[in-house]
Amino acid sequence: MVDFHHSSDSEALDSDEELQKAFAEGRLKSTGLNVEVAPPKQFINNVSGMKQKLEEIEQSLDWTERLDLTNDPAPPPGGGTEPTEEGDELANNDFKRELRFYRQAQASVLIGLSQLHKKGIKTKRPEDYFAEMAKSDVHMKKVREKLLEKQQNIENRDKARKLRELRKYGKKVQQDVLQKRQKEKREMLEAVKKFRKGQKNKLDFLEEKDNKNKDKGQKKDKQDKLHQPNKKRQYKNQKYGFGGQKKRSKLNTKQSSADMSSFNIKVNQGRPGFNKSKKVSCIDILSVYIMKL
């Protein structure tokens, strides 16, 4: 894109003569759209002038008079890596930016104070030195109160959160208990229905199940386990006792084929469907159930 400048006598640029002149000079492109582009803006940067001025205003003073330090930020605590964000991203990232300034100040403080100590100048204010401060006492009191208030807020929020969680947990536990009760009720009714329709012959669902049975069973097993013979004795019994080894003995003997313990009439000989002879009155069952509840 060729840019063409205003003529010195400020004629209209769109006039034919101007265009012809520009084309003759070769400033116009032969194809495409010619758009006028403003000349790039020149920014003044008078380096020599600035350096001269700097020399003029420079004072030859001791460092203790000026107290200026130029340094890099101190390395961040823990990791020794500097964040590599520069310019725009750093300016937008508030936290990192402030940290960088803080570290720069820290480095300066460490260097500056050590230099002052070398010159024998006292830097730390003693405890009994009372003087006017930049901010008044009243203001500092307000600041302290604000900080306390913030801490208090955080604590309150934590407490409220814990309470909410506890309530949620309690609610959950309550729901679990209700669900369990409903389940038990449902199971009881189903068992009653089954019994009514003759699918079950025992009334064992009326008794309090599970826990108590388990306890009794466990007790029995425990008693047996206490009076067991020694392991070595058990092994010997298994190998040689009660008529010797069972491994290579006969399987289909007269005794084994006449064994009827694994025969169940209901499964093997009962009619498919329900057993009609086992009907019991509903009222009896329900009354027992209600009393149980």
């Binding site: 803006k41 920014f43 003044i44 940067n45 008078n46 380096v47 002038g49 600035m50 350096k51 001025k53 700097l54 003029e56 205003i57 420079e58 004072q59 003073l61 008079e65 000026r66 107290l67 200026d68 330090l69 130029t70 340094n71 890099d72 101190a74 310019g87 725009d88 750093l90 300016a91 930016r97 960088r100 300034f101 803080y102 720069q104 100040a105 820290q106 480095a107 300066s108 403080v109 460490l110 500056g112 104070l113 002052l116 006292k122 830097t123 730390k124 204010r125 030195y129 009372f130 003087a131 006017e132 401060m133 930049a134 901010k135 006492d137 203001h139 500092m140 307000k142 600041v143 604000k146």
Partner: protein, 304 residues
């Protein structure tokens, strides 16, 4: 607990031995009580800064100015300058007050704050746009320092890289640094001014030195300076440097408004283009197509 001023009163009345090192104290055998006691050390670096503003300044800028005056014991104040006076009048004001440095705040449209920092009789001056002003009295600034204690000045390494930054650094050192043994200054070192360069701007922070190992708390104020131009003379003269990345706040607002307006303009344009693109007839239909349509018996039943 009350805070009272604790002045250091020296009992050295020796004037003859001024040629010796000022820290050395040599008492004469006979002391006259008529002679006033001379301060043990002399204030040689005579920097006086005039801090004032123009009319139409906002409350935040005014508090910033007051904070700067509190922080710098070598500063002098002046009443507001009328805006119709030209800027070189400030040089005369400075001379009248016997100041050799000046910080001048200018507010335009009650929104934009500009700051001039200049070396008064002959030296360079810089114009800045001040952004992100936070004053000392904000409750998040928890630090405190002695009023008038000398600050340590901390500059970013980037100040040494370009000549315009070095010039500004020298100017800041002379303006913000409290001179040694200034009569209003306090002896100990408990705060540090930080000047850093980020995003082509100068960020100013003021920290209190809590412990000698480097833990700091911010005192305030804090502001950001966006350099506009450096002039050769004080409040005038040839331009030495012009910031290419500077966008005036007016232009900035205009661009923002244009972006928002662009949304509306786009919508109007798209509506217009839809109207133009929309055809009047979806498809061509011939009127004579109806001629040979035979009426079905069901339809005739409705009529008849």
């Amino acid at each position: 607990m009350g805070k009272r001023k604790h002045k250091e009163i020296s009992t050295n009345s020796d004037r003859v031995s001024s040629k010796k090192d000022d820290n050395e104290v040599v008492l004469e055998p006979v002391v006259n009580s008529d002679e006033p006691p001379i301060k043990q050390t002399k204030w040689t670096n005579k920097q006086r800064v005039l801090i004032f503003s123009s009319r139409g300044i906002s409350h935040r800028a005014r508090h910033l100015m007051i904070d700067l005056r509190t922080m710098m014991p070598h500063s002098k104040s002046e009443s507001k300058m009328d805006r119709k006076d030209k800027l070189f009048v400030i040089n005369e004001v400075c001379e009248m007050k016997n100041c050799n440095k000046c910080i001048f705040f200018e507010a335009k449209k009650k929104m934009d704050l500009y700051m001039w920092a200049s070396n008064c009789p002959r030296g360079p001056s810089v114009k800045f746009l001040v952004e992100n002003v936070h004053t000392m009295s904000e409750l998040k600034m928890t630090g405190n320092c002695l009023k008038g204690s000398r600050p340590l000045l901390s500059f970013d390494k980037a100040f040494d890289e370009e000549p315009h930054w070095s010039l500004m650094k020298e100017l800041f050192t002379q303006i913000f640094g409290t001179p040694n043994h200034h009569p209003k200054s306090q002896p100990f070192f408990d705060h540090v001014f930080t000047f850093s360069i980020s995003d082509n701007r100068i960020w100013f922070r003021n920290y209190q030195i809590l412990e000698e190992d480097g833990s700091l708390a911010e005192i305030g104020p804090r502001f950001v300076l966006n350099p506009i131009r450096i002039f050769e003379g004080s409040f005038g003269g040839a331009t030495l440097y012009q910031n290419p990345k500077y966008v005036s706040p007016n232009l900035h607002r205009r661009l923002l408004r244009r972006q928002v307006a662009q949304k509306y303009v786009n919508r109007v344009q798209s509506k217009k283009s839809l109207e133009e693109r929309k055809p009047e007839f979806t498809y061509t239909s011939d009127v004579t197509d109806d001629v040979f349509v035979t009426i079905q018996p069901e339809d005739s039943k409705q009529n008849g």
